[in-house]
Structure formats: C-alpha cells, structure tokens
C-alpha cells in the first residue's frame, strides 16, 4: 500500500506491523490455528492484548501479499469492529493485474477521501510522493551509519510519524560514519518483529558480524520503492509499488534476481534466510534461493523460526558455525 496516498490526503498512515510483538503469539490463544505464521499470530495477539491505539484506528488498510495477512486483517476487523479496507495485491504481473491493482488503489483513495473529507489533489499527491522519496533516501544514507537493529527501530518509527515530521527529524540528524563490519551479512525472508531483529543483532554483535542489508517485507521493502524524481501521479506510484520484487509473485524470478543483485551490491559474505514456520511463500523458496546464490561467494544460512524463545541458543550456534564457515576459504 503506497503510504503516499493517505499522506496526500492529510492522513497519517501507521505501520501496524510494527506492533507485532513476540508475546502476542501467546496472547492470541485459539483465535487461529497453531499452524499459522507466528508473525501474523503475534500481530493478532498484540491487537488483542494491549495495542489500544490499534483498536481506535478509524480504518485498517489491509493490502495483503499473502493469504494469512488477508485473513489476519479480517480477524482484527471482526474482533474490534474496525472497518477494514482489504485488497489482495495481485500475484501475477500482467497488465490486467496491474489495472486491477490500480483500481484497488483508486477505491482506496475514494475511501480515504471519505475519511479525510478532502479530495486527492494532484499537487498533494506529488508532494507526498516527493516527501516519502526524500525520507527513503535519507534513511538509506543513515543505514550505513547505524547498527542494524537501531536502524530498524528508526525506520519503523519514521513510518509511524507524519512524513514531514519524520523528515524534519532525519534531516537534522548527523551521524558519524563507521568502519565497515568485519563480516557483512544480508538478511531476507519472512516478516520480523523489531524485538526479534534486536535479538539477532545482539547475537551478531557479540560474534563480530553485522547485517548490512536486508530484504525483509517489514524493513527493507519499506525503503525499496524508488519513484523517480518526476513521479507525481497515482498511476506512476502504483507502478513503482507494483513492480516491487516479492517471493509471492508468480512467477517470481524477479525476486531471486533482486536478492542476488542486492547481495552482490552490498558485498554480502553470507545471507541469513530466516523463515517463520508456516510462512509458505518464503519457506517454499529456500531451496531455489540457495541454488540462485550458489554462483556468488555468498554462503546461505536457512533458519526456520517458530514462536518459541528456545530457538535463540540454537540460532547462535548456527550463526557461529556460519561465521566459522566464512573464515574457511571456499572450495
């Protein structure tokens, strides 16, 4: 869902995903089956347990890229009687699919216009597009000057704020440059909670490694849409968002190419491919991803994560083994 649209109507889009907390998995109880992805369960659980602000939302925009998200938004809406504007981002990338996506965005605009009491004016949209573009560029600049988990927090916070406020904060920020990490890692796979990313980063910090890039739906993907400076209209911004690489597109070769080129560009030495159990769209691609990256000097660590905390020690052992592997020359 392009955040530019609500912003152009004077609304503040709040990134609901960031309220997913691991404890939500326990809170969710039996509202959903245990064979569902723990991120969606965490988000639903958080909505049940304590995210008061979530329950007060005037509208939940459920633009979903997976089946579980689609049903998650429906469940949240049912539970708290929140109006949900749901739509499914098409999986195919034909022109017909794009038209469908565009129509859905237009329906969303109409809904948002009703909510804000204003009409979408081209100049407002152009301004919002430009502001988010600046925000993303600024975040990307800061990316290299911060630890991964700090950056994840910062990015999540920026996407919770009105874009002009976020820009004001970031554009005044000065951060010294840092030496590159001894081991450069890339992260990809399922949605992640901020807490989980912090835990991972803590572990990596102790082991002398750092995530320098990611392709997570809940982080890297937020920064990725790159409308050109001249982009100003709904159709154009829709195209930018529609063309985002995603493992759930069919066929999904573009996503593999994206990961490959990104790993190459940031000179990643290894990729941690973290999949949540029951995250079908990501889990299914682990084998192909490894095959795709085989020609590159990039080791791949597949992680399958559940909701439990017991995985931390195992994760550390596996990452240690990965780093050991990196110290050995490849055959």
């Amino acid at each position: 869902v392009p955040r530019e649209l609500p912003a152009a109507l004077g609304l503040v889009p709040v990134f609901v995903d960031s309220c997913a907390v691991a404890s939500g998995v326990a809170e969710v109880g039996e509202t959903v089956g245990s064979d569902s992805c723990s991120f969606c369960r965490a988000l639903l659980g958080a909505s049940q347990a304590g995210a008061e602000w979530l329950r007060r939302l005037p509208l939940l925009i459920g633009g979903s890229a997976c089946d579980q998200q689609r049903r998650l938004f429906e469940s949240i809406g049912r539970q708290w009687d929140i109006p949900v504007h749901g739509f499914v981002v098409p999986r195919t990338r034909s022109e017909n699919a794009f038209e469908r996506y565009l129509c859905q965005l237009k329906d969303l605009v109409a809904r948002l216009e009703g909510l804000s009491g204003t009409s979408l004016r081209p100049e407002s949209l152009a301004k919002a597009i430009a502001q988010y573009r600046r925000l993303r560029l600024r975040l990307r600049e800061l990316r290299e000057r911060m630890r991964f988990s700090s950056f994840a927090r910062l990015a999540a916070a920026c996407f919770q704020l009105p874009v002009d406020v976020a820009l004001e904060l970031l554009e005044g920020a000065e951060l010294p440059s840092r030496p590159g990490p001894p081991v450069r890692l890339m992260l990809a796979g399922s949605c992640a909670t901020p807490t989980e990313l912090e835990d991972l980063d803590d572990c990596l910090r102790e082991l002398g490694a750092e995530v320098v890039a990611d392709a997570l739906p809940t982080l890297g993907a937020l920064l990725e849409p790159a409308p050109g400076a001249s982009c100003a209209a709904l159709e154009e911004v829709a195209r930018v968002w529609f063309d985002q690489p995603d493992p759930g597109t069919r066929p999904n070769e573009a996503w593999f190419e994206y990961i490959k080129s990104r790993a190459d560009a940031v000179q990643a030495q290894a990729l941690i491919y973290r999949c949540l159990r029951f995250c079908d769209l990501c889990s299914a691609e682990a084998v192909r991803l490894r095959e795709t990256l085989a020609p590159l000097p990039v080791l791949v660590l597949d992680e399958e994560l559940g909701a439990g905390k017991g995985a931390a020690a195992r994760r550390r052992t596996r990452i240690e083994a990965l780093l050991e592997g990196l110290r050995c020359p490849r055959a």
Partner: protein, 865 residues
C-alpha cells in the same frame, strides 16, 4: 444401516453383479473404441490404492462404476497422451479450465489438485517426500503432493501445459505451483481476484480478461482452437453434467431419504471438477447415478438411516475413510462446502462463453473473505437442514488455520448450530482414536440435543488446535481420554478406547432418570458417599496434552500438567461431565490443585475436602472424619437426598465388589505369564465407577483375558523385564512412558499409583460406623502429599513380593513437587531392594519421547533376563 459392503464382498459379487455391465461403463482411452473401466475395488487396491481395502462401498454396481471411473483416470490420461492428446494440468481453479477445454477434443485435462488425496489412498508418502526435497516440507498442507505427482511423468503424464490460478487463494498451493514451474514445466499463471460479498461487474470483467489470456495461452503455445463456438459447445456439455451433480446432491443430502452414502457423494462432487478427464463418460455415469438416487428415493430404499444426525461437511477430508466413519457413528452428510461449489454452478448459456466461465469462477469460495465462505457454509446447512457442521482443518493449510474459527462462529451465531473442527490426521495413518472419539462425541451430543438435552450449541461446539501429530480432544473429558492409537488387541479393548461415549450416554440417561452427577478429582474422595446419595461420581482429572495450553492461559507454566489439563477442560467448557455436573467434590492434596479449585468454584456447588497431611496422627484422622461427614451433609443438601446408614452400607458393599473385581484383573499380570499389558490396564479405568455399564465392560475384559490365558497368548516375550511403575497418576493419551516400556520389550505388571492398584488395594470395612469405615480406608491411601508417606513404601514392599518386578520406574510429572522430592526416597528404597531404578520426569508433551525411548530401551536391555 448403513448397508455398505467391503472390498472382499465386492470381489465376491463382481462376477454376478457387474461383469455384464462392463460394456456399459466405458471411457475414452485414446483408442478407436472406448474401453471399460469397471473393475472391483480390489483391482485398484492391488495397483497401489491400498486404503481402498479399508473402505465400505455402496452395494450398487453404479456406485462401483463411480469409484472405478475416478480410479481409472490416470490410466485414461496416459492412454490419451500416448494417442497424441495435449495434456493440460489445471491447478487451483477447480473446474474452470476443464470446462474451457471441454469441447477441445485434441486436449485432455485434469485437476492436479486432486493429488492431495493420493498419499492417503495409496498410503505411500513418496509424493510428499518429493515435495520436501524441493523445499515444501511438513509445514505445508498436503496439497504439496501435487509437486511429487507432477515430478516424473509416471503418476500423471507430463503435461504440455499447466495452468495455475493464483491470487486470492491459498499460499500453500501458490508455492506448490511455483515449485512446479521451477521444475521446468510450462506453467501459465493467472489471477483469481478477491471478491467481496458478491462479485462486482469489475470483478467479472477482470476475470474475463484473465480467461482471455488463458485462451490466448492455449492458442498460442499449443496451437489449439478455442473459438467462442467451441467454448459454447463445451459449456453446453458441461452444464449437463453440472445439472446432474446438483440433482444428485439434492437427492442425497435432502432430509427424508438417504439414497447415496457420503463416500459416493464425495466422488460425484469430485467428478464435477475435471470430469475424470472424460466428460462424455462422466456424464453418462452420472446419469446412472442420478437414476439410482431417483429410484431409491421412489422405492424408499435408503443407503443409510435417513434419521441419522445431519452434518454439513466443510473441506473434504484427505482420508475418505472419515466418510465411512461418519456414517458408522450414526450421522450422514447433509450439505457440503468442499471448496469446489463453483464447479457445479451451471454456466449461463445466455452470456458470451468467457463471461459465463468468469461468473462461475468468481463463485469460488476461496477467493473472498472467511465470512463469505462462512455464508456459503450456512447456505448449505440451511438448504439441507443440517444439525451440526464439521470443519476439517488440514495441518499447515493457512486458510484452515484462520478461517475455520470464523466459519464456526458464523454458523453458531447465525444458525445456532454446533460445530466441530477436526484436524486432519497425518497421511497414511489410520484414523486416530481421538478423531473417532471426537466425531462420535459430537454426533452423540447432537442426538442429545435433539432430545432437548442440557448443552447449548455454543457449549458443544468443539474446536481442535493442534497439528497432525497431536490431534486434540476438547469434547472429551478425561480421566482417560478416548484412547490413543490403539495398541491393544481384542474387540473389548477397542471398545474401551471409545467407551467414554458410552459413559456420556449413560450419564445423560441417569441424569434424566433423576440421578445426580458429582465430579471428583482425587482418589481421596469417597465414592461410597456419593453413591449413597444416589449420584454418580465421575472423575474429571485431565490427561489431554492440548488442554494444558488452554489451562496455561490462566495458570502458571510451572504447574503440574494434570492440574493444567483438568482446568483447561473447564475453562474451555469442553467437558460435558463437568458442564452437566450437579456438584463438585475437590480436596486439599497438593497446593496447585487446591488453588485451582478456587478458580472453578463459582461454576457448580463445590465441596473441598480438607485432607490433613499427617497420616499417623489420630487427631488428623478425626479431622478427616469430620470432613467426610461434612461431605455427606453437603451432598444431602445439594442433591436434596437423604444419605442413610443403609444406603452407605449398600454403597460400601458395591464399591468393595468393584475394587475386588478390579484387583482380580491383576491375576493376569501377577503370574509369570502376563496376559494384559500396562496400556490395556489403563484403558480399563473408567471415569464413572461402579456402574452396570462398567460391569459389562469388565465382563468383556475378563472374557478376553481368560481367552488369552487359555490360548496361551501372552503379551510379553519370554524374559521380558517385568516393570513396576510408581509415582503420579497416568491416563490414556499421556501413557507414553508405559507405552515406551512395552515397545522396548518390557511389560508393566503393576502400577502403584492412583491410576493403578493403590486405590483398590484395600476395601472398606463392612463393620462399625459406615462413615468412619469409609474415612479410615481413604485416609490410608498413601499419597506423596502426606508426611511421612510410609504407607507408599509398605505398599511397594507388598507389590514387589506379589509381582516380582525386575525394575522400578518412578514417573513424575514436571512441577509435581511432592512426588519429585519423594522420588529420592523411592530410589533409596529400590536400591535397598536391589532393583534397577529409573526416575522419569516428564510432562504431557511428546517432545521428549525419543529421549525417553532411548533411556527406557537401555533400561530394558540391562534388565532383560
């Protein structure tokens, strides 16, 4: 009723009933003349579909032809492919693509989705293994079998083109289709849009354009002619078949008559999806099936009892044995939502062909919200006047995990019907006893509901929440759950696995006759007093792992699982015994239990027996006696009865007989030759003691055990280590330690525990003041909550003498502090007796099973004689 016949019976009947009909049931195999597909089920079973041997079939040859037609589909596909037809594998659309290609004779199409049943019918996991090798492992729905089925061109011919409908449908299958594409097969992806409550004109236009793109794909890559004229002709033919499917469903599912069993109905619906890859033969066959139904309805000939409990079934089970089971349990399918309802929507012949196909495709129940699918379920339930709704949940299928609760909620709210969510069991397994038990309980309770019984729809709606390896039971109360996977032999032990259902019925009948139902937890509760009050004592201890999780919503994690499971049942209102109880008797044994009772005390009149904990102090006994007297007064007041001395004496005699009878069972393990396993002994424990029902069950057990003894059928190999199990109470479902002992070659000859010999070892004196005699007997029960618990060691001494164990196994539930600490003393006692000793501290989960197995195997190895 039901009147189905076995595979063997079909073999016997085939020559006389069907041989002459072989010419009638013919399909296109790519040769000039169609060939017959009619064979007995054993033919298909011998070719690999081994599960067919376990099914029961409608006895009419037409029904057999239905089964044969679907079984022969792969043969026809291969034959057509060899004859030059272009093979199209349609994925996820469930009806659209085969309808598009219906009048394109140079093609043959099939719905690859139906491969999901193959690993169950053939009981062969190779397709799933092939999928796992491609990264689609056990966390995926078993639809991943499609990847294996398409991988080598053996099961199905290699398709010239696969069509893959993606978008607003399940991700599991989307991932499978991507995997098929990655295997190098040509795949045309097309989009299913999400629709609202009703499909809009924009949805229809979008869908039409997608179908146009499909048409261009067929024409471009395969050089096919899919002109409007051809499509129209195909639609006309498809409509003939769809009308027949609709008519058969109406005849089969409507109240009043029951002309076709659920299994055959499922086959009819499956046929609507891809016509078994032969539209002409399928239509001819369905005409016969429709005629069979019409005739049976007219003649009043039913395949099932029409008065059976009527269930709308949501999502087809992979294991079709469930269809048989449903009918065995006295239910019938009345309406379905098998995710393919759009496959028998007749196509609008007044529209342009692609528009008609688009409209029908938009009726796909998977491409809207869960609430939309729920409405379709409600329509079915209303249309066919269902009394309950069963929802199957495939493990790993994302839509099931999310939508089943919503559907159940909608069904309950809008129709007031009870619902049951059944977790599909693992491929290749027998139907687990728990699924049987839950389904049986559901049927039973709907029957009770018909009779105006106590439970409301919301109360008897039950859900399941675990994976395929851990089917949960929330309808069953547990002193012992309905049993696990049935390691026992003999009909009586099979009956005991599901005897809870008989107990539920018994309790209902007795309550209707005016008898009270009193829930108890601990062996300290004197059943005699309850019996003397004319009531039934029912044990409510929980032995269901899945209820632990529910209990933990309120209770701390570091509490004994027995308490959490017991509480979980109550929290979830999943135990009909508790729900219908007139009173509850609790006791102050361990701290966890006594505090848990405070959480449930507001639900029923509750009496807490204060058990003093110094068994050797006479003052303690005096207090205990006053508690037993107070219990008697409580029951008199609560149940509005008088507990007379005479009734107490009568109850004492009855319970003494009961205990003696149970004690007599140990004759079959006390001797050198052992005729009863430890698991079987657990099965014999009933929730309601001292009933005619239990008497009858015990008769059966004794008969079986005597038969074994006379036949010399021992249950343990010569030299098998004899094991004495001590410690915490154990029930079915969490009997893993006992099962592991016996799987490792040992045999449990006696269990010193509340679930074993302890409570029956001593009788109540029939002399003196009856209440005092009762109190005396129960106060002598040696529990670890006593200090000091010397009685336990006295009992253990006697058991060693009587049962001559080779090894002692002390089982302790995690966080059961009293048994855990006392285990040190048990170890010392065992060392003094020079008996090998193993302490096992575990919980209700199965996560430590393999570690335990290793430890127990080592112990058995070391003690084997």
């Amino acid at each position: 009723m039901p009147t189905g016949i076995s595979i063997a019976e079909w073999d016997r009947r085939f020559a006389s009933k069907c041989a002459a009909l072989r010419g009638r049931y013919r399909g296109s195999y790519g040769r000039s003349e169609p060939a017959s597909y009619l064979y007995p089920p054993s033919h298909w079973s011998s070719l690999g579909d081994t599960r067919l041997a376990r099914l029961r079939y409608d006895p009419d040859p037409t029904s057999l032809a239905l089964c044969s037609f679907l079984e022969s589909q792969t043969e026809r596909l291969h034959a057509r492919a060899r004859a030059g037809a272009r093979v199209i594998a349609a994925m996820k659309d469930l009806g659209t693509v085969p309808a598009m290609l219906a009048a394109v004779p140079e093609t043959v199409s099939f719905a690859a989705d139906l491969a999901y049943m193959q690993p169950t019918t053939s009981e062969d996991p190779r397709f799933l293994q092939a999928a796992a090798e491609r990264g689609l492992g056990g966390d995926f729905c078993d639809v991943r079998a499609v990847v294996g089925a398409l991988s080598d061109g053996e099961y199905w011919p290699r398709p010239d083109l696969c069509t893959a409908a993606v978008g607003a449908c399940c991700d599991d299958f989307s991932a499978c289709m991507q995997s098929v594409a990655a295997m190098g097969l040509a795949v045309h992806f097309w989009e299913l849009p999400e629709v609202g409550a009703e499909a809009s004109a924009a949805d229809a236009e979008f869908m039409e354009r997608e179908l146009q793109s499909l048409r261009e794909g067929f024409e471009g890559s395969l050089g096919l002619d899919l002109s409007d004229a051809r499509l129209t002709a195909g639609i006309r033919e498809v409509n003939r078949l769809r009308a027949l499917v609709r008519e058969i469903r109406d005849l089969a599912y409507a109240p009043g008559a029951a002309p076709l069993p659920a299994l055959e109905c499922l086959l009819v619906e499956a046929l609507a999806v891809d016509f078994g890859s032969d539209l002409e033969a399928a239509t001819a066959l369905l005409e016969d099936v429709a005629e069979l139904c019409r005739r049976r309805v007219a003649d009043g000939e039913n395949a099932l009892d029409p008065a059976s409990v009527r269930l709308t079934w949501v999502t087809p089970a992979m294991d079709v044995c469930l269809q048989n089971l449903t009918e065995d349990l006295g239910a019938r399918v009345a309406g379905t939502e098998y995710m393919l309802g759009h496959a028998f929507v007749e196509l609008d012949e007044s529209l342009a062909p692609l528009a008609a196909l688009a409209r029908a495709a938009l009726d796909d129940p998977m491409i809207g919200s869960s609430a939309r699918r729920a409405r379709k379920v409600c329509e079915q339930a209303q249309r066919y006047r269902a009394e309950g709704v069963v929802l199957v949940s495939f493990f790993g299928a994302s839509h099931c995990a999310w939508e089943n609760r919503i559907i159940a909620e909608e069904v309950r709210d809008s129709l007031g019907l009870p619902t049951l969510i059944l977790n599909e069991h693992s491929t290749g397994q027998e139907i687990p006893a728990q699924i049987r038990g839950r389904l049986a309980g559901f049927v039973e309770m709907i029957r009770a509901r018909r009779a105006g019984r106590l439970l409301s729809a919301a109360e008897i709606s039950v859900e399941g929440g675990t994976n395929a390896g851990g089917e949960r039971s929330r309808v069953m109360p547990q002193c012992c759950d309905a049993g696990s996977d049935g390691a026992s032999s003999g009909d009586i032990f099979e009956r005991l696995e599901g005897s809870i259902l008989e107990e539920i019925s018994y309790a209902q009948e007795q309550q209707q006759a005016g008898h009270g139902l009193v829930g108890i937890y601990c062996e300290y509760t004197p059943r005699e007093v309850i019996l003397a009050a004319g009531a039934m004592p029912v044990c409510l201890c929980g032995f269901t792992p899945e209820m632990v999780e529910v209990g933990e919503q309120d209770l701390p994690g570091n509490l004994c699982p027995l308490i959490k499971s017991s509480y979980g049942y109550i929290k979830d209102r999943a135990c009909p015994f508790f729900e219908n109880a007139d009173a509850i008797v609790a006791e102050t044994t361990c701290d966890g239990k006594k505090k848990m009772f405070e959480l449930i005390a507001d639900r029923h009149p509750t009496f807490v027996l204060e058990l003093t904990q110094k068994p050797d102090a006479e003052a303690a006994f005096t207090h205990w006696l006053s508690e037993v007297r107070a219990l008697s007064a409580f029951l008199e007041k609560t149940l509005d009865v008088a507990i007379t001395e005479e009734k107490l004496r009568e109850a004492i005699r009855a319970m003494n007989r009961w205990r003696s009878r149970h004690l007599e069972l140990y004759e079959f393990t006390r001797s050198d030759q052992v005729y009863m396993t430890g698991v079987e002994r657990l099965l014999i424990n009933q929730r309601i003691a001292c009933t005619p029902l239990e008497d009858g069950l015990l008769d059966g057990v004794f008969a079986e055990l005597r038969r074994r003894r006379e036949a010399g059928e021992t249950v343990a190999a010569p030299g098998a280590p004899r094991v004495l199990v001590t410690g915490v109470p154990i029930g079915m479902n969490v009997e893993k330690v006992i099962r592991l002992v016996e799987e490792a070659g040992g045999v449990v000859v006696v269990q010193e525990a509340c679930s074993g010999i302890k409570p029956i070892y001593e009788n109540v004196s029939e002399e003196g003041d009856p209440l005092e005699a009762i109190a005396r007997k129960y106060f002598r029960l040696p529990c670890s909550c006593f200090t000091a618990n010397s009685g336990r060691f006295e009992l253990l001494d006697r058991l060693v003498e009587e049962f001559r164990p080779d090894v002692v196994l002390d089982v302790v539930w995690m966080a059961c502090h009293t048994y855990n600490v006392e285990s040190v003393l048990v170890r010392r006692w065992a060392q003094a007796k020079q008996l090998p000793f193993l302490k096992v501290e575990t919980d209700y989960s199965t996560s430590d099973t393999e570690q335990l197995r290793t430890r127990i195997q080592s112990l058995m190895e070391m003690t084997r004689k």
